[in-house]
Subunit: 281 residues, 2 copies
């Protein structure tokens, strides 16, 4: 039987080709992917030249990927796809701290530091005390929560982006809460920075009339036994890019106070509580 | 203004970020792409692990691309995307010869040969006379049509796949029609072959329970002044893969007779007329 491939039957023709014994979830995901991709091509009546441009774009994007750079994650980020997947997988009840994108700059195995320690090892930037509690939905403190934090330096670069210029653990550390659920550490008031924009994704952003900047933020990965993993940032409220984050990571509940401190240990103070959701919920 | 990114407003949030002065077609295509990609993720509730698997797949696919191999075209082909784009861009009136995928194995600048010449330079395979006319929708012969043909060799490889084993122009040539619109050349009865399946696309096909084979076919690129460019194949009718071409290239109108010849110049004879459509139509 020769089934003629047509514009009308293209999805069915491709999807009925899948074998019987395959993984049911793979079948579901691939069938939907083919259906949506074909609907896209049909809707815009994609030209042969546009298809060629798309192939060339994907090719260059892949060829730029290396151990140090992940251009496809960047692409997913700037299309809002990463944030959408994050939202789908982290639906939380009201009052819980919201998730946002993990980003490519976390490093596993940061040193566990003493409460109150400073994570800024280069002494640059405006010092800031980050402080608050890790609590549950009833406001009860969570003991033994691991608060893994990371930020850029005062020039907008993460340590992994400058292995020759920064200590690997500059602006990184892990703090474990005690019975009061409190965390406290000194870092810098983070600064905004552009995502890497010298590759195909940067070119795409320029063609779309978009800037590549992310508003200033501190990263938090908060984990505790019995609670859902929280991946989030806190944002500096007066950042000029707050309303136009290139990767759509901003949520209004994640904008933290950054209070200027007179005659204190640090120049700034940023209080923020993290509210975790039990695993069962 | 901080617009919270949500599952519900994700498409609007991303698409309203585009600048005012950008190319209107780019805006249309990107807006539709974002809408369909987000609809896909929402529909299947794509998990974080599946997203990571997707990023890894695209990365490996890109890294495999080189001057000799185009894994993204292969991906587009096996998802039926290439054939859909081909169909959208080559809508033709009844009676016209249908298009099919161009494929990655054409080489520009094949030698122009004398009508009746043999394109099989290695002397392998079952010889076949390909013959017919290039005509318009009224059956009138088209003079000066360039018939650019290429096929695999008897072992299922195109010359470009075996630069050390085959002459660059083995099983390739261009024939220009005279006033009678006739073309005639000797090649081999083509054989079926698997698309390159040692990369991520091959792994994907295996996971989907699909085979990588293409039914045997002869490629034709037929051009003539004043007529639409025709990119097509003729297929051997008794091929076991005719109903399940890995890239969905088969159309029933493109299955050609392959007649066994007794005591002839060749072992087979395959007559086929190509009907071109004027550019204006």
């Amino acid at each position: 039987m020769i089934g003629n491939f047509t514009e009308e039957n293209s999805v069915e023709t491709v999807n009925t080709r899948m074998g019987d014994g395959i993984d049911p979830r793979l079948r579901e995901v691939m069938a939907a992917l083919v259906r949506h991709l074909h609907a896209f091509a049909r809707e815009v009546e994609l030209t042969q030249e546009e298809w060629e441009a798309g192939i060339a774009f994907l090719t260059v994007t892949g060829q730029l990927c290396s151990g140090e750079r992940q251009e496809f994650i960047l692409l997913s980020d700037v299309l809002g796809f990463s944030m959408l997947v994050d939202a789908i997988n982290n639906r939380r009840p009201p009052g819980a701290t919201e998730n946002t994108v993990f980003g490519p700059f976390h490093v596993d195995g940061a040193p566990e530091r003493q409460m109150g320690d400073c994570i800024s090892l280069d002494g640059k930037g405006e010092s800031c005390l980050f402080t608050g509690r890790v609590i549950d939905l009833h406001g009860e403190p969570i003991e033994g929560a691991r608060v893994d934090v990371w930020s850029d330096n005062s020039e907008g670069f993460y340590s992994v982006q400058q292995p020759d210029l920064q200590d690997k653990w500059n602006n990184r550390g892990i703090f474990v809460t005690g019975a009061d659920g409190r965390y406290e550490f000194v870092g810098i008031k983070p600064v905004s920075y552009p995502i890497p924009d010298d590759g195909p994704v940067g070119k795409m952003l320029a063609a779309l009339g978009r800037h590549p900047n992310r508003p200033a933020h501190m990263h938090f990965l908060v984990t505790a036994p019995g609670f859902q993993r929280l991946v989030t940032h806190t944002f500096v409220g007066d950042d000029r890019w707050l309303g136009s984050d290139a990767v759509f990571g901003v949520k209004s509940t994640l904008v933290a106070p950054f209070e200027h401190v007179r005659d204190g240990r640090t120049e700034w103070r940023s209080p923020f509580d993290f509210v975790l959701v039990p695993v069962s919920q």
